[in-house]
């Protein structure tokens, strides 16, 4: 299949509860094999967007196509190609991870394809999410992090082409989070899985995403790679160094040239050099703030540099 195949296409998506627009003319596309992160403050409509795409929520207006069909009246076969990582709570308390994965995997058997065998081998899957030791324990007895890894395993048991992750690492400890990021990258690299995830963790977004969408007050206010977003907010970087025991800091739009010049002039006297571009956090906060306070017109103008 061609590299540029569109997996998700959203146009003019609107979600209205009463007179409040939770989503207002949201539009974006996700191409095959991309990892796209939906960022945004609480209540911005991230979960609503993802649930519309999962076919679990009826939208008020707009055109949505996921793997070529409208999720709200997608045939059941469509579910075989879409994976959803749910935040479980206390379901299947008496089951074991091995039992549950085997059971749920069975639903995917009729949809096996030569290049995408379904379901995934349960033993390999358990190893993939690192639940070997807990595989035969009652799910009730799993820790929060173990449960979330099981959630991830359930989401990918059918070897989906497209995976939805709604705040997948909420409640993970740093090590579990790093392992999970490794898992996501492997899914993309080895199986060409397309992933749409929401998160609050900017570090996670930066680490995983090919592209970031920022949703604020129900609108997409930015769409681009981490670098593109950073550049659209600020082209300046801050250069800090020590010289003769004194700290110096300088803001510049050409940090490389500035530093070259600095060394040419002072050579060995320059110590503890540190160069800092706007981080994703700076970018994110600036964009959300700018949009929510209405500075910069209707939001889109301010980010026209963003490569769409």
């Amino acid at each position: 299949m061609p590299e540029t195949e569109t997996v998700i296409q959203v146009e003019g998506l609107r979600m209205r509860y009463g007179s409040v627009d939770v989503l207002d003319e949201v539009g974006f596309t996700v191409r095959r094999g991309e990892v796209v992160t939906l960022l945004g403050p609480n209540g911005a409509g991230k979960t609503t967007t993802i649930e519309v795409l999962e076919g679990f929520r009826v939208r008020s207006a707009g055109d949505v196509s996921v793997l070529g069909v409208d999720p709200i009246d997608a045939p059941e076969e469509w579910r075989a190609h879409v994976g959803i990582v749910l935040q479980s709570w206390r379901d299947h308390a008496r089951w074991t991870p091995r039992g549950l994965l085997t059971h749920l995997g069975r639903y995917y058997e009729p949809y096996s394809e030569p290049d995408r065998p379904r379901p995934r081998d349960v033993e390999q899957l358990i190893a993939l999410v690192g639940l070997e030791k807990q595989a035969d324990q009652k799910i009730r007895t799993l820790s929060g992090g173990e449960r979330r890894r099981l959630d991830a395993a359930v989401g990918i048991v059918g070897r989906p082409e497209l995976l939805f992750l709604d705040e997948p690492t909420a409640g993970f400890d740093p090590e579990a989070r790093r392992d999970f990021h490794g898992l996501v990258r492997r899914l993309v690299d080895l199986e060409d899985t397309t992933i749409l995830l929401t998160t609050h963790d900017l570090d996670e977004a930066e680490r995983l995403a090919d592209r970031i969408l920022i949703l604020a007050s129900g609108r997409i206010v930015a769409d681009g790679s981490v670098d593109e977003l950073a550049r659209s907010v600020s082209r300046e970087a801050e250069v800090r160094w020590r010289q003769d025991g004194e700290s110096h800091a300088e803001r510049t739009t050409d940090p490389t040239g500035f530093v070259r010049d600095l060394f040419a002039r002072f050579g060995d006297e320059v110590r503890d050099l540190d160069m800092r571009r706007a981080t994703l956090e700076d970018t994110y906060l600036a964009m959300v703030h700018r949009h929510e306070s209405g500075v910069g017109g209707d939001g889109d103008e301010a980010f026209e540099e963003v490569d769409r």
Binding site: T47, T48, E51, E54, F56, R57, V58, E76, E77, W78, R79, A80, V82, G83, I84, L86, Q87, S88, W89, R90, D91, H92, R94, W95, G99, H103, L104, R106, Y107, Y108, E109, P110, Y111, V154, G158, D166
Partner: protein, 284 residues
């Protein structure tokens, strides 16, 4: 293979697994023990009272009625609570994320709930046989009647439970919308005292619902023919039993899938999250 058939088969395997887990669980064993103790205590206390108009003792007559009541109760309240609970905790959503998962889920529930009747019957019938002597007065034919009656009862009552579980806004509300009406209906269905002693309009109400007919059918299966004399019209009214239970089955089976699908369509991760927050908040 037809994927729908495959999903039903997967769901049946699920139901079997859940049934096995249920019998192994101390929580469910405790439940069976509890119903057995309460019933045996009631029957034992009344072991010497004769049933008016017959030469039978109360345990003999009451036991079939109680079995009928249990079918109705277990198959309405069981699915209602399970559905409301599994909707809240995300079980339903998880299975729905799989292709034809909802079909599988329902198939599993039907099998699990049906199998659950076996231990329920066993814990009542076995001790009764020891305490009060022969319980079955109709021989093999009686047991065959029990089987078709239970199957018909399943079809008549389980869809009602599914509808209640789908419509109830949360687990607590199943008590109000499910438990209360069922207990009232069981109370007026001639299980603990003869229906003829109640006001005429209450008798009419009771005879609209499947609970009365399940009790009557069970009595007709277990008791000697002469015992029919104390029933309304002096007859077991087998034809009426079949007709009314079938009517409920047709009614239930035609609306339950619609209601269930509508409810399932509204399921989403954020609803499960909202239910979790709600459950964590005891004081409102």
């Amino acid at each position: 293979m037809n994927p729908k058939v495959h999903a039903v088969r997967t769901g049946l395997q699920r139901g079997w697994t859940e049934f096995k887990m249920s019998i192994k669980s101390p929580q469910d064993q405790g439940f069976y023990l509890f119903i057995a103790l309460v019933t045996m205590l009631y029957l034992f206390v009344n072991r010497d009272s004769k049933v008016e108009g017959t030469d039978l003792y109360l345990p003999t007559v009451a036991l079939p009625s109680i079995l009928g009541a249990m079918v109705a109760f277990a198959l309405v309240i069981g699915p209602a609570y399970t559905l409301a609970m599994e909707r809240e905790d995300g079980t339903l959503l998880r299975t729905r994320a799989a292709p034809f998962g909802l079909i599988g889920y329902v198939a599993g529930q039907v099998l699990n709930m049906s199998l659950g009747l076996i231990p329920s019957f066993a814990v009542l019938l076995i001790p009764s046989a020891f305490l009060f002597g022969e319980v079955m007065h109709q021989g093999m034919a009686g047991w065959i009647s029990v089987v078709w009656l239970v199957v018909l009862g399943l079809l008549a009552t389980m869809p009602i439970g599914i509808v209640i579980g789908s419509l109830a806004p949360n687990v607590q509300k199943v008590g109000t919308w499910g438990m209360m009406p069922i207990l009232v209906l069981l109370g007026i269905s001639g299980i603990f005292y003869p229906i003829q002693d109640l006001w005429a309009w209450v008798q009419v109400v009771a005879q609209v619902f499947p609970m009365y007919w399940l009790g009557l059918g069970m009595r007709s299966a277990f008791l000697p023919d002469a015992a029919a004399a104390v029933e309304i019209g002096g007859s077991w009214r087998t034809l009426e039993t079949v007709l009314i239970l079938s009517a409920w089955a047709i009614f239930g089976l035609s609306i339950a899938p619609v209601v269930l699908r509508r409810m399932a369509r509204r399921q989403s991760g954020s609803q499960v999250a909202a239910a979790r927050d709600e459950a964590a908040q005891w004081v409102r």
